[in-house]
Amino acid sequence: VAILGNVQQRSLEVVYDGAAGKVGFAAGGCS
């Protein structure tokens, strides 16, 4: 598999919604 690692996740808000079956990303979601 390809793997999205944690360096590329920096400063993004990463959202895991297991019940709805989706993963989300928000740029600048940390500030």
Binding site: G18, A19, A26, A27
Partner: protein, 414 residues
């Protein structure tokens, strides 16, 4: 000029380097949700980074350990992971443990009275475990006092033969064991890192208002590997035994995090919500050989505002997961090759530098105060594009060796 600005990041070089002191960000509050502070394990914000137990490894070592973690994930998914727990338990701990090294830490409370424990948070595994007294076989050095279940009024061992004990098989990938009718778990991370101990239940305190009775976890009696002064692991995968599943009645399997842009700042881990209104979602996919991983589908990559010409089959052949415990993103060979080529073309004004372990595209920024690098966007199923932050494009060893922070898998089907 406008196109250049829209499709590139211009950075002060000093912003790429972590400072020696911690500059914490206030945790972003999400109403009625619980948020924990996230720190990089080897940065100045981590209490693990004090003294010998938490001494930061070199970047070369971090990347070698990262490669080891990736190999173990590939091995697990290809069904060739034939390392037996008994083998792992007899191996000495050595460099290259596949737990990885570039990990992030959160602090949770366990037991009654509550004891705070700094745990590596990991979306790529499921079982939460911590080192436990009396450390019957072996415990590594950790910063927090080692948890002692005999001093907690809420600890209970799980019995052998119970369905809970049986559930360890999927959460750890190992057959369970018994010791005097007490359920024994074992989890290993590919090569030498492992934890073996009693499977128990305990009171878990995330915050004073978010307390979970009967949280199932591993109470480690034989723990070896490079866990870097942490007290163990917080498993956030999709298996029923993960913290996410065990708290699903309250949080409905919804959590979010922000990893800090540098090891000298802090991020957050929130259960039950998220704070940004501009979240772009892509469907989760399930990897049949590893259903506890969070699968997603890459569909493309853009560099400097231009989408690269990469066949869809390159991504669909491989599949993809998102993992908080892997440091560097791994792409199918053809996708990485296209990314590298486009990135190099837009960086020709900068002198190159030697490769850093698995990172083969590096630059010497010694004579610059600011640099301009192309933006990189990742496309996912559902048509969303996610712009990677500038700090997620470059991996800085030193100013004379700053590298593109992506790598290729060796096999197109990995």
């Amino acid at each position: 000029g406008r196109k250049l600005a829209d499709h590139s990041h211009t950075l002060q070089l000093s912003s790429l380097l972590p400072s020696d002191s911690c500059k914490p960000y206030a945790i972003k509050a999400v109403e009625n949700k619980v948020s924990l502070k996230v720190v990089h394990r080897h940065g100045p914000c981590s209490q693990l980074n004090q003294g010998k137990a938490g001494k930061a490894p070199s970047h070369t070592k971090i990347l070698l350990q990262d490669e080891s973690r990736v190999k173990s994930i590939h091995s697990k998914l290809s069904g060739t992971n034939d390392v037996k727990l008994t083998d792992a338990a007899t191996l000495p701990a050595h460099d290259g443990s596949s737990i990885g090294s570039g990990n992030y830490i959160v602090t949770v409370g366990l037991g009654t009275p509550k004891k705070d424990l700094s745990l590596i948070f990991d979306t790529g595994s499921d079982l939460t475990w911590t080192q436990c007294q009396p450390c019957a076989r072996s415990c590594y050095k950790q910063k927090d006092p080692i948890f002692d279940p005999s001093q907690s009024t809420s600890y209970t061992n799980i019995s052998c033969g119970s369905s809970l004990c049986d559930s360890l098989a999927s959460a750890t990938g190992n057959t369970l064991n018994c010791a005097s009718s007490t359920c024994v778990y074992g989890i290993q991370y590919g090569d030498s890192s492992f934890s073996v101990g009693f499977f128990g239940k305990e009171r878990l305190t995330l915050t004073p208002t978010d307390v979970f009775e009967n949280f199932y976890f591993g109470c480690g009696q034989n723990n070896q590997g490079l866990f870097g002064g942490s007290a163990g692991l917080l498993g956030l995968g999709r298996d029923p035994l993960s913290l996410v599943s065990q708290t699903s009645q309250k949080y409905n399997k919804l959590f979010s995090y922000c990893l800090p842009s540098s090891s000298s700042s802090t991020g957050f881990l929130t259960f039950g919500g998220y704070s940004s209104k501009s979240v772009k979602f892509t469907p989760l996919s399930t990897i049949s050989a590893g259903p506890s991983f969070y699968g997603l589908d890459f569909t493309g990559i853009s560099v400097g505002g231009s989408k690269l010409s990469i066949s869809q089959s390159v991504f669909s052949t491989a599949g993809a997961i998102i993992d908080s415990g892997t440091v560097i993103t791994r792409l199918p060979p053809a996708a990485y090759s296209a990314l590298r080529s486009a990135f190099r073309q837009l960086m020709t004004k900068y002198p190159t530098a030697p490769a850093l372990s698995i990172l083969d595209t590096c630059y010497d920024f010694t004579n610059y105060k600011t640099v301009t690098i192309p933006k990189i966007g990742l496309f996912f199923n559902g048509g969303i594009e996610v712009d990677i932050d500038a700090t997620g494009i470059l991996y800085v060893n030193k100013i004379s060796q700053v590298c593109l922070a992506f790598a290729g898998n060796s096999d197109a089907s990995d």
